[in-house]
């Protein structure tokens, strides 16, 4: 039969010769290999103390963005929920009251905004769909939890810290790539 790729290797099915039958040379060869490995550099990253560098395009936990004045950017248009292939996003819209102009950037805002992190596949399509730059996938890994219900992230979990009141937290949550 013709080989499909060039990487085909014929298996040697000749009976073992004397040196192969007494196993010892092969065993010694194997033992030198394992011995050499003892002195190799270990690729381990000591996790809680050190973290691995994430690439700038890493798609981690979502954040709901604010503008420079600290107002929520999301206008509850629902485009992210439509774009989401995993149907992980739910929201409820509400109308901004006159005295809430310092809280919400647009006249319509998301009163409830939830992402089910167990459904989310971290594809980043919500980020692409958003016309208001309101949702981003940050470089934070979604933490583990014990209960399923804790994986439904609400606005409390998602909203980024206020850049006016907490510029440090804001910068940290935003990550380095934005």
């Amino acid at each position: 039969m013709e080989a499909l790729t060039k990487n085909v290797m014929e298996v040697d099915r000749r009976p073992m010769n004397f040196w192969e039958k007494i196993y010892l040379p092969a065993i010694l060869k194997g033992m030198t290999i394992t011995f050499r490995h003892m002195f190799k550099k270990k690729p381990t990253v000591q996790y809680p103390e050190k973290t691995r560098y994430f690439s700038p395009v890493f798609r981690g936990m979502h954040i709901l963005n604010r503008d420079e004045e600290g107002r929520e950017r999301c206008t509850a248009c629902g485009l992210c929920a439509v774009a989401c292939p995993a149907e992980a996003i739910t929201m409820e819209a509400a109308e901004r009251k006159p005295d809430e102009a310092h809280l919400y950037r647009e006249e319509k805002y998301a009163a409830r905004y939830e992402i089910n992190m167990l459904r989310c596949i971290f594809c980043g399509l919500c980020e692409e769909a958003c016309p208001k730059d309101a949702i981003y996938l940050s470089q934070t890994v979604t933490p583990a939890d014990y209960a399923r219900k804790n994986f439904i992230y609400t606005k409390n979990d998602l909203l980024i810290p206020d850049p006016v009141k907490d510029p440090e937290g804001f910068a940290k949550a935003k990550g380095i790539h934005q």
């Binding site: 007494i22 196993y23 065993i27 194997g30 033992m31 290999i33 394992t34 011995f35 490995h37 003892m38 190799k40 270990k42 690729p43 381990t44």
Partner: protein
């Protein structure tokens, strides 16, 4: 008559203390052998290994032991309770019993007494070790049988047949050695190797050593001979149904066995407590004993390392390969080795 009835209390005490020390030492060494095993395995696989419990993870064995103590103790209700408990107990007992005849060092002088660092210097030391080690397989067999589980039973059968096939080759390879030494007492064997102008027995019996070493590995149920506990086909084998400290005993017995096997190999083939290039007779007895004990343990640790090194290099033998190697390879080799040794001894006489 009065003389016969007086017990030498000092002698009694001295032996008791020695037994306590040796048992504690074997337990501690076995404990840290588990740590060493994990570290060596990790390093050979480009990992770091346990490093969280204490500096460099040296408290890991304690944590493991604690964990086993606190595990729920499960005894399957279709198993024979008595035998089920006896299995691990026997495994541990036989593993510990072998320490009795190993000469750990020369005499020390303490309180005007000359104390040999050996619990019992019996003139059939090797036979005793053989007898006890072959009892060790009962731990596996009884455990496997009492579990009332087909995998455990298969493992027990494998263990038994493996030990029988390899004990034969081991015995024959030893006969060649005994023809050279002319004594079954381990102490005498070590003293012979320590004499000036006499090399360690490995120089006279390299093939015998190789056979003995391979068989010792098989007796310890270490990889590549760990067929009784083959994880992927027998699902942990004979200790599948065990939990808590009974499981711990089985795992622990393996490490003690490894320690004792190394000690026996060193005693028989590598000069026991003989420190190379040092003439012990020039030192004070206590110094000589100290040097001897250190040399002995250094050699043992090297062998434990080699045991582990082999385990993390080689895959497990297939069952037919195991039997072929034992019956068609090692026994014939051992017989040839014995005959050649005998011929040479006869020729030199």
């Amino acid at each position: 008559m009065m003389f016969l009835l007086t017990i030498d209390w000092a002698f009694f005490l001295e032996k008791l203390i020695l037994i306590a020390i040796v048992i504690t030492l074997s337990l501690v060494i076995a404990m840290y052998a588990t740590y060493a095993e994990r570290k060596i395995a990790a390093f050979m696989q480009d990992r770091i290994g346990p490093n969280r419990a204490g500096p460099f993870g040296i408290l890991q064995p304690l944590a493991d032991g604690m964990k086993l103590f606190f595990k729920e103790e499960i005894i399957p209700n279709h198993s024979n309770r008595f035998l089920f408990i006896m299995g691990p107990a026997l495994a541990m007992l036989t593993a510990m019993m072998t320490c009795a005849v190993i000469p750990w060092g020369n005499k020390v002088e303490l309180f005007g007494r000359s104390i040999p660092l050996q619990i019992a210097d019996i003139n059939i030391g090797i036979l005793y070790i053989f007898a006890v080690v072959s009892l060790g397989v009962y731990g596996i067999m009884i455990g496997g049988w009492a579990s009332n589980n087909k995998f455990s039973l298969l493992a027990a059968m494998r263990g038994a047949s493996q030990v029988i096939s390899y004990e034969l080759a081991m015995g024959i390879s030893l006969i060649a050695l005994l023809m050279l030494t002319g004594s079954l007492s381990l102490k005498t064997i070590v003293e012979q190797q320590m004499q000036a102008g006499h090399f360690w027995n490995i120089a006279y019996q390299p093939l015998g050593f190789l056979i003995f070493f391979i068989c010792a590995m098989a007796e310890c149920n270490r990889a590549p001979f760990d067929l009784p506990e083959a994880e992927n086909e027998l699902n942990m084998g004979y200790h599948q149904e065990y939990s808590s400290m009974k499981l711990g005993f089985y795992l622990f017995a393996e490490y003690i066995n490894m320690f004792i096997s190394s000690a026996v190999i060193v005693t028989l083939f590598f000069g026991g407590y003989d420190m190379p290039f040092v003439n012990e007779t020039l030192l004070t007895p206590n110094m000589a004993a100290l040097v001897g004990v250190i040399a002995f343990f250094a050699k043992i640790f090297i062998f434990i390392f080699i045991f582990m090194w082999i385990r993390w290099t080689l895959p497990r033998f297939r069952y037919d390969q195991l039997m072929n190697l034992g019956w068609k390879g090692l026994i014939l080799l051992a017989l040839a080795n014995m005959l050649i040794t005998a011929a040479i001894i006869l020729y030199r006489m």
